[in-house]
Symmetry: C2
Subunit: 105 residues, 2 copies
Amino acid sequence: MNYSQAMIRSEILKALAHPARVLIVHALTGGDRCVRELNALMNIDQSNISRHLAVLKRAGIIADRRDGMRVFYHLKAPCILKALKCAVEVMKNDASSRNILLQER
Amino acid sequence: MNYSQAMIRSEILKALAHPARVLIVHALTGGDRCVRELNALMNIDQSNISRHLAVLKRAGIIADRRDGMRVFYHLKAPCILKALKCAVEVMKNDASSRNILLQER
DNA sequence: GCACTATATGCGCATAAGCACATAAGGTCA
DNA sequence: TGACCTTATGTGCTTATGCGCATATAGTGC
């Protein structure tokens, strides 16, 4: 694998690497959601939700569809769930160092 | 899922979200490697390799083992490969927007 | 047109991440 | 011990991210 391939992969991972975006992706596994619904679901400023959605869209992870005033978002790449599950596995396999990590921030 | 769970997951994803670290993980799928070998493999300053390794170790993705002067690193969580494969799938499913992404930087 | 709802974006600021360079720390072997 | 090899870390700097706030853009319906 060369560096530019690695760059593309890291772009996608980077798009997922934010707690709010993890929450958004998780919420979208339950079906399409519009910005307002996501906003109600988590305690984050609407403008930031929009920005996080833009990041995920830009990475090709989600897509949008307008319906009247609202814009609904849905997952484009179901494999994303595997990536998130992987994170959970790492967490389980490594409870001790994880605690350290949590302590330090 | 709550915010702190999402934070833990995002920490792990963040650890993977850098081209150099993607390359490192990829290299480690071929077996243990010491810092010098990784350094020879990719064209990155040794001090940065060490730092990237520290990030991955801190996230519980890799572990190290000293052998004489050298420190060998190995993958701790094989599921990481699924996360990387996912990135590839997104890339394939979304070649067009990916091109845009590449153009813009 | 106007008022209203929903979503996106511009801007300034604070903080985090990444880098290159120098150097410290840990280990080997003559 | 001293010369050497390998890996980690301190420092200063630049750039990227994320945030809140205000405001723009888009659509609906009176």
